[in-house]
Each structure stands twice: as C-alpha cells, then as structure tokens.
Amino acid sequence: MSVNYGSKRIVVGAHYGLRDWLSQRVTGGLMALFTIILLAQVLFSRGPIGYDTWAGIFSAQWMKVLTFVVIASILYHVWVGMRDIWMDYVQPVAIRLALQIFTIVWLVGCAGWAIQVLWRL
C-alpha cells in the first residue's frame, strides 16, 4: 500500500473540489444557454404574448427536452451552491445536516413538480 500520510498525504484525493467547480460551470452554462434561447423566442414572436405563444414555446419537443435538462441542471447547481452556503455559515453538525436534508427535499420536490408541468403540456 502506498504512503498516504505525512508529507506524502494526498490532500485532494477525492477530487471533490474539481468535480463541484466543473459541474457548476457546466450546469450554469446550460442554464445561460436556455435563458438566451427562451428570450430569443419571446422577443422574436409576433404580436402580444398571450397564452398560445407562451405555451407554444414549451410545447415543442426539443424545447421540452432542453427544459428537462435545465431542470436537472438547476437541481445539481443549486445543491452545490446551497451546500457551500451551509458549510460556510452553519457549523453545528445537527443543524447543518437538517438544512442539507431540507435542501434535498425542497429541490427534488420542486424538480418533480416542474417536470410534471412540463410533460403534461
């Protein structure tokens, strides 16, 4: 077994930081792309934006797939972000764990609701 203590200790062995950093960039980039695509469809629509125009944007299958991916992106992006906030400001382990569980329940619940709305359209 290789030495993993003292000066030889591999501090970042889990690659935790890189994974979270990269996933927040990728998911953030996806959400930014979604924002621009949605905005373009709203701005380039003709006439006043009523129900038909608005619902029409989300009824296209490619838009549904994209929106679904964005919902999944939000789920992970927000989880990393909120966990960072709890880790920085909440030290007592019991309260932090409770808040982390609340975050997961809140996020998964919201994602489920959003997906339901999206796919019955």
């Binding site: 953030g28 608005w54 619902a55 989300f58 927000v78 906030i85 609701w113 959003a114 019955r120 359209l121």
Partner: protein
C-alpha cells in the same frame, strides 16, 4: 520539549460568533466582494422562492384558464395580498436572476481567460456587473409596473 511543555502560554484570544449587526456592518468590501456576497444572496433567494417560480411556470403554461388566473394574481391580487406585492416579489426575482446570470458569466470568463485574472479586471468587471444588473432590473421593473 519539556521546557516547551512546562512554560505556560498566555491564553489566546478567541474570535467566535461574529455579530451580524455590530461586526458585519463594519466590513468594508471591495466591489468584487459585494458582487460575491450578492451572488450568494441572489442564489439563496431564488432557492427559497423556487416553489413560487414553478407556480408561475405551472399557471402560465398549463391552460388558458390558468393563464388568466396567472395574470389576475399580478394585476388584481389574491386573497388579502394585493397585485403589487406579487410584482414586487417578481421584481426581486428578476434582480436575483440578472445578478446571478451576469456574475456567473463573469466567473466563466475569468475561468477561460488568464488575462482576466487581475486585480484591475476584477474591480472593473465587478462594477460592470452591478451597473448592468441594476440598470436592467430598473428597465424591466418599470415595464412590470406599467410605466411604459
């Protein structure tokens, strides 16, 4: 070793539990620091208002009837809550989204470009983030409240 162990050290001052009202207000943040903390604030705000965001998505997109209800909530209000209150919440979300969006792009740009990782760019881009996000919030807020 024994000398070290025997000589008592003076107790160190401990700094714990900063007071949010007396300590935090004395912190002087540079523009990049303001953008950074607002990035967190805006993110946390959107997290907490996530059910409201999905409620807006649900009612606006599900049917003609729910779309009318969606509009009525903002124009007339619901129950004891007046319409302007919901517009105000929506405006807070607009600001949060714009700030988070632009500050996020700033992050991405600093990850991609080595030239952007300087003290000067950090300051100028932070000021740019604040100016653009607040200006766009004002423009969209004026539209939301029917000023034009």
């Amino acid at each position: 070793m024994t000398e070290l162990a025997n000589s008592p050290r003076p107790p160190r001052r401990q700094f714990r539990n900063i007071n949010a009202f007396t300590d935090l207000t004395t912190y002087r943040l540079p523009p990049a620091g303001i953008v950074s903390i607002l990035h967190r604030v805006s993110g946390a705000l959107m997290f907490l208002l996530l059910p409201f965001i999905i409620w807006m998505f649900d009612t606006s997109v599900s049917s003609e009837i729910s779309f009318a209800r969606f509009k009525a909530v903002f124009n007339v209000g619901v129950g004891f809550a007046p319409g302007w209150f919901f517009k105000l919440v929506a405006l807070a979300l607009i600001w949060a989204y714009l700030h988070h969006f632009i500050a996020g792009l700033r992050h991405l740009w600093m990850d991609v470009s080595h030239a952007a990782v300087t003290k000067e760019f950090g300051k100028s881009s932070a000021i740019g983030t604040l100016v653009i996000s607040i200006a766009l919030t004002l423009v969209l807020g004026a539209k939301l409240f029917g000023l034009y």
